[in-house]
């Protein structure tokens, strides 16, 4: 399976070479797991120590793609490893028995393997790596709608399909809007697409000015769209445009009215007849016009706005931005086009009007500034539903950009529809109200389309340099040491020494059978070193565990180097199944010292141990047996350990 990386031409053969960290304190299981993973062509690092694994993980977070770990390990809790892996966003798979499955999953394991694990189970684990990478990829790209470029989308077919559709949609919209634009420069790139295809009319300052003029001329209650349209005499403007704008304007005025009522003293606003309202409006507007000279440096931040009339501001927000209040924007033209003409505008207004303006500020850009939605970024989406607008300040931004973008516009008497295709301020910059957004308008055109920086988050990158799947092999013991007890870790005792001792014909000194007490076993375990052990126990070892110390023929011993000569021929007795090992052992464990057993075994010629002895026709053995016979009197209690043949000599 191939997994194309972002960089063209670099084809990684994922999951080949996937880097797995295998952790298990059981060497048997670990070795088998390693081999299975190697068979799957993964790159394997194994360790028996959980601590070491943690070290490796922490040392380099990018060293592994996947962790497989046992959960019950002596040196550290397997779940700690799991948690660390999760922190690093690594998929961790538990490898234990069935009972640990739930625990593993609850601790966050992405999967579990039950011992013994089969090859085919391991052949699929790579999908966890892919899943994780997709997730982190999506997370990094961000919550704003990011699109996979079409070339990338092949990699994650399920995920990208939806996004691909969006790309197509917005692409179409872009095209159609582009056709309609005959004003401003670049279009807004937007992945947000409404499915609007018709061109949006942007109510620029000039346009609105004309509108207002027309309305005033007609009188508000007489202002019908048709007439307004005629008066405005704007090419391309439709009656519908005007109608909707008028509706919003009326709403705006109503809002103003309400706002005024909240702040006006009763006597000042005893009545609410529309004419008074209109006058107030006009007055307000006139006041606004009077304050044409806006301080160039005045920037009103959103916080400032809210400070002015925070409660009103927020109340408008709550009620939804459906007020179509619209400040005279004509005066803005003469402004210095500071970043926030509206803001500064606000600051100069008398308090009463300021309230109104606040509302206007918040609402007008939304409705009256009809930026082509299809081109807008996600921010633009907010324009669709005024009621959803969470932040009034955002409007200020749009105002800002709007205001600033109008610098290039001729003053009032423009006949062109101001299609504000250049508003692209992304949502996340709403908070930075103070920023002059002149530059932003065009440059932000591409902002929503954050370019996909390749599949840096996908495993492909991690495969770098790992294609040489060098096997990380442990120090596997050479074959001729297979079954060689000196590999055994416990008690440091070396049966090999014993048997070599045997073959060397050195039964050693006193062959006492120590009192076979339970405690004796432990004492023996602790106190014995190689020498002592050999002296005391080698014979017993040889007899009791003769079958363990299985001497092998030939030099190239599979199990034992130093074994007694054994016939090369196939001994029939070997082939017969051991049926009476039970008998042998029952004799062994009936309470006699184990030395007796071997003697009996010798006598009875039982296949299990007997054939060994038969095979080991060593002179040494004769000596040993003789000495053992002497010890028949030494009947002691048989400890638990002794019953296993662990008496007097430490476990091999």
């Amino acid at each position: 399976m191939e997994f194309k990386s972002a960089e063209e031409g670099r084809i990684e053969k994922f999951p080949v070479g996937m880097r797995v960290l295998a952790v298990d304190d059981n060497p048997t299981c670990l070795r088998k797991l390693e081999e299975l993973l190697l068979r799957c062509k993964y790159h394997v690092t194994k360790t028996m120590e959980s601590k070491k694994a943690l070290e490796m993980l922490r040392e380099n977070s990018n060293m592994f793609d996947l962790v497989i770990s046992d959960v019950e390990m002596p040196d550290a809790d397997g779940f700690k490893l799991l948690e660390t892996g999760l922190e690093m966003d690594l998929p961790v798979i538990t490898h234990s028995d069935y009972d640990s499955v739930m625990k593993g999953i609850l601790h966050g394991a992405c999967d579990y393997l039950v011992k013994p694990v089969a090859l085919k189970e391991l052949q699929n684990i790579w999908h966890h790596v892919v899943k994780k990478n997709i997730k982190s990829y999506a997370k990094n790209i961000g919550t704003s709608r990011q699109l996979l470029p079409p070339s990338q989308s092949d990699l994650v077919p399920g995920v990208s399909k939806k996004r691909k559709d969006k790309v197509n949609d917005s692409g179409d919209d872009d095209d159609s809007d582009r056709e309609e634009d005959d004003g401003e420069g670049s279009e807004q790139d937007g992945d947000e697409s409404g499915t609007r295809k018709k061109p949006r009319v942007v109510w620029s300052q000039e346009l609105h000015q004309k509108f207002v003029n027309a309305v005033q001329q007609l009188g508000l209650d007489k202002a019908v769209p048709k007439k307004i349209l005629d008066l405005m005499n704007i090419e391309g403007l439709t009656r519908e445009n005007v109608a909707s704008h008028l509706q919003k304007y009326r709403l705006y005025l109503k809002k103003i009215d309400e706002g005024q009522q909240q702040n006006m003293t009763p006597d000042a606003f005893g009545t609410r007849d529309s004419s008074y309202f209109q006058m107030a409006q006009l007055d307000g507007l006139r006041d606004f016009t009077a304050t044409r000279q806006l301080p160039s440096s005045g920037l009103l931040s959103r916080s400032h706005l809210t400070k002015i009339q925070p409660h009103l501001y927020s109340s408008i927000n709550l009620q939804g931005m459906n007020s179509s209040g619209f400040i005279q924007q004509g005066h803005h033209q003469s402004s210095s086009n500071s970043a926030n003409p509206f803001g500064t505008y606000h600051s100069t207004l008398p308090p009463r009007i300021q309230n109104v303006n606040l509302f206007q500020r918040t609402s007008s850009p939304l409705e009256s500034l009809q930026f082509p939605r299809s081109k807008c970024s996600a921010y633009m989406g907010d324009f669709k539903s005024i009621g959803d607008r969470p932040i009034g300040g955002g409007f200020v931004d749009s105002c800002m950009s709007y205001g600033s973008s109008s610098t290039s516009l001729p003053s009032a008497s423009t006949n062109t529809l101001m299609l504000q295709g250049n508003y692209t301020q992304p949502l996340h910059t709403v908070s930075s109200v103070n920023q002059p957004c002149i530059e932003k308008t065009l440059s932000n055109a591409a902002s929503p389309n954050i370019s996909v920086q390749g599949l840096s988050r996908l495993p492909s990158q991690s495969w770098q340099g790992n294609l040489n799947t060098t096997r990380f092999l442990s120090n596997s013991s050479p074959l001729n040491h297979a079954f060689f007890p000196d590999q055994v870790t416990c008690a440091g005792n070396n049966l090999g020494d014993c048997s070599s001792l045997v073959s060397a014909g050195n039964p050693g000194g006193g062959m006492q059978c120590e009192p076979q007490l339970l405690g004796g076993f432990l004492q023996n375990i602790n106190s014995l070193d190689g020498q002592k052990w050999e002296q005391q126990n080698c014979s017993m070892v040889n007899n009791t565990f003769g079958n363990v110390e299985y001497p092998l023929p030939g030099d190239n011993m599979v199990f034992r180097e130093n074994n007694a000569a054994r016939s090369k021929g196939v001994d029939e007795s070997l082939m017969s199944p051991i049926e009476n090992s039970g008998n042998v052992n029952s004799q062994e464990y009936v309470g006699k010292p184990s030395t007796m057993v071997s003697a009996e075994m010798m006598k009875s010629g039982k296949p299990e141990n007997a054939h060994i002895d038969n095979q080991n026709q060593h002179d040494v053995f004769d000596d040993i047996m003789n000495e053992m016979m002497k010890q028949e009197e030494n009947n002691g209690m048989v400890s638990v350990a002794a019953r296993f043949g662990f008496d007097s000599f430490p476990p091999p």
């Binding site: 070795r31 088998k32 013991s477 416990c490 092998l552 190239n556 476990p651």
Partner: protein, 155 residues
């Protein structure tokens, strides 16, 4: 006319089958054999060696724990037998694994005598298996040395 190689091969096959039929080995052992190839020619022997070492170590641990009369650490016994169960199942030591299950139960119920008895049996069982596998490997060796090929035995 039965050549030595053919004879050996037949014995190898028969012995292998008998081990399976008597429950000494199960399909996991077959899996082990499948993992052995040119890249890891001694894989089975290696893993089996590790297993028997495991057995010795864990059984001694358990014996030691059980030796502490009046203060038997059943938890230790339990974790040891858990380990042993894992490794025996991994290599396909069927009888050993079965006994481990029983031993685990005894341990969970803190049945001292039961644990001791079970442990004995585990000990016997693994040694038996060890002997048998040694025989099997020896047969393989003999076949190879005689110039023959180790037959693939399908159970």
């Amino acid at each position: 006319m039965d050549t030595l190689i053919a004879q050996l091969q037949r014995q190898f096959r028969d012995y292998t089958i008998s081990l399976y039929h008597q429950g000494f080995l199960d399909d996991q052992f077959t899996e082990l054999k499948k993992l052995q190839d040119e890249c890891s020619p001694d894989f089975v022997a290696e893993v089996v060696t590790l297993f028997f070492e495991d057995c010795e170590k864990l059984i001694s641990n358990m014996a030691r724990a059980l030796d502490q009369t009046g203060n038997v650490d059943f938890k230790l016994v339990g974790s040891s037998v858990h380990q042993l169960k894992g490794s025996s199942s991994s290599v396909g030591a069927k009888r050993v694994k079965g006994l481990c299950v029983t031993l685990k139960e005894c341990c969970d119920s803190q049945n001292f005598e039961g644990c001791v008895r079970c442990l004995q049996q585990v000990d016997i069982e693994y040694k038996t298996l060890k002997a048998k596998l040694q025989d099997l490997f020896n047969l393989e060796q003999q076949i190879v040395q005689a110039g023959g090929r180790i037959p693939q035995v399908d159970i």
